[in-house]
Amino acid sequence: MTLSREQMAQRVARELKDGYYVNLGIGIPTLVANYIPEGIEVMFQSENGLLGMGAYPTEEELDADLINAGKETVTTIKGASIFSSSDSFAMIRGGHVDFTVLGAFEVDVQGNIASWMVPGKLIKGMGGAMDLVAAAPNIIVIMTHADKYGNSKLLDHCALPLTGAGCIKRVLTDLAYLEIENGAFILKERAPGVSVEEIVSKTAGKLIVPDHVPEMTF
């Protein structure tokens, strides 16, 4: 079985460590916040200038002046701080954010990522994604293994315009968890019930398959 969106978030959440400052991209990455392992504390950074993002507000708490990077109304947790966009990106560019999770259209064996523009389609912009991928020391990309037409999104060379070059080392898809090393994807784990053969057939980029590829458990 391929992983559900929730399972993908759950698997990535296992990478969280106590004391991490974390930036979650829009979409599936946001769900990671629902699966923080017990007994650890993490703080979420929102690049519009908030460290210590809390849950959505109640009707009573709703405040137009307090939003996240997805422009949704949010709250702050105890111990939060608020700052300017330039301070926010100093944190990001300076490598102070411990862990970043974001989506992508394509990733390749050189660690290149394409996530912001499809030529010929409406281009809305990169927001903070180029800053995040250029600077974060510890990034996981969450995406489906193949697009809706069955084309692999794990390639030898990204076909779409890049968001960042040589910056991705880890990818979690609905089929597998992979790492990127020395110009190849390395298959580390597979989704429960998904065969190595299926992953091989859906990975266009160079793939190294170790003798033993454990199944994820949920």
Partner: protein
Amino acid sequence: MSGFDKVVHSYDEAMQGLTDGMTIVAGGFGICGIPENLINQIKKMGVKGLTIASNNCGVDGFGLGVLLEDKQIKTMIASYVGENKLFEQQMMSGELEVILTPQGTLAEKMRAAGAGIPAFYTATGYGTPIAEGKEVREFNGRHYVLEEAIKADFAIVKAWKADRYGNAIYRHTAMNFNPMAATAGKITVMEVEEIVEPGELDPTQVHTPGIYVDRLIQGTFEKRIERRTVRSA
């Protein structure tokens, strides 16, 4: 009155001197913390051919989006756009030039302008389409792209509270790009929810010192919400 008093009493006065073809930097993220009345004043003035640098371009009928209605914007410098149909139309037809700029680079372009730094190197965007034609330099084995500051004729910003000298405090994430925008204008116009007397703000709590602010006006704000997300109590 003191030579440091920045208060003006009308929006006409606040935006006086803005003419066709000028460059404006604007604070705000989405439609949070935007100088909504100053934007409406620009619409009323009808100036055209503007270059505007702001993270986004408002929504249809609110924020910077209203300046699209009479095609007042020639060039938009932003990190994320397309929350409004009019923007999409004018971009597709080529009437509106759009320079997409990474969010951190945009913030730094404003900060640099205010700090007298003409350009800076950043790793952001290296190897991507936005680095095309830009100077690249290697430091300690990594590649960095040279990005230039955005100096503007006018900066329009929104703060929560300021004293008459222009010392200002922002509220929550309505801060966003406002502090950098405030430093980047030849003329910086700030609108606030409340103006107090000098001495009423704790100097250690001031976010933007009054030196950056040329004109200050008190307004009333709609504070529209772009994505209203709530949980049940």
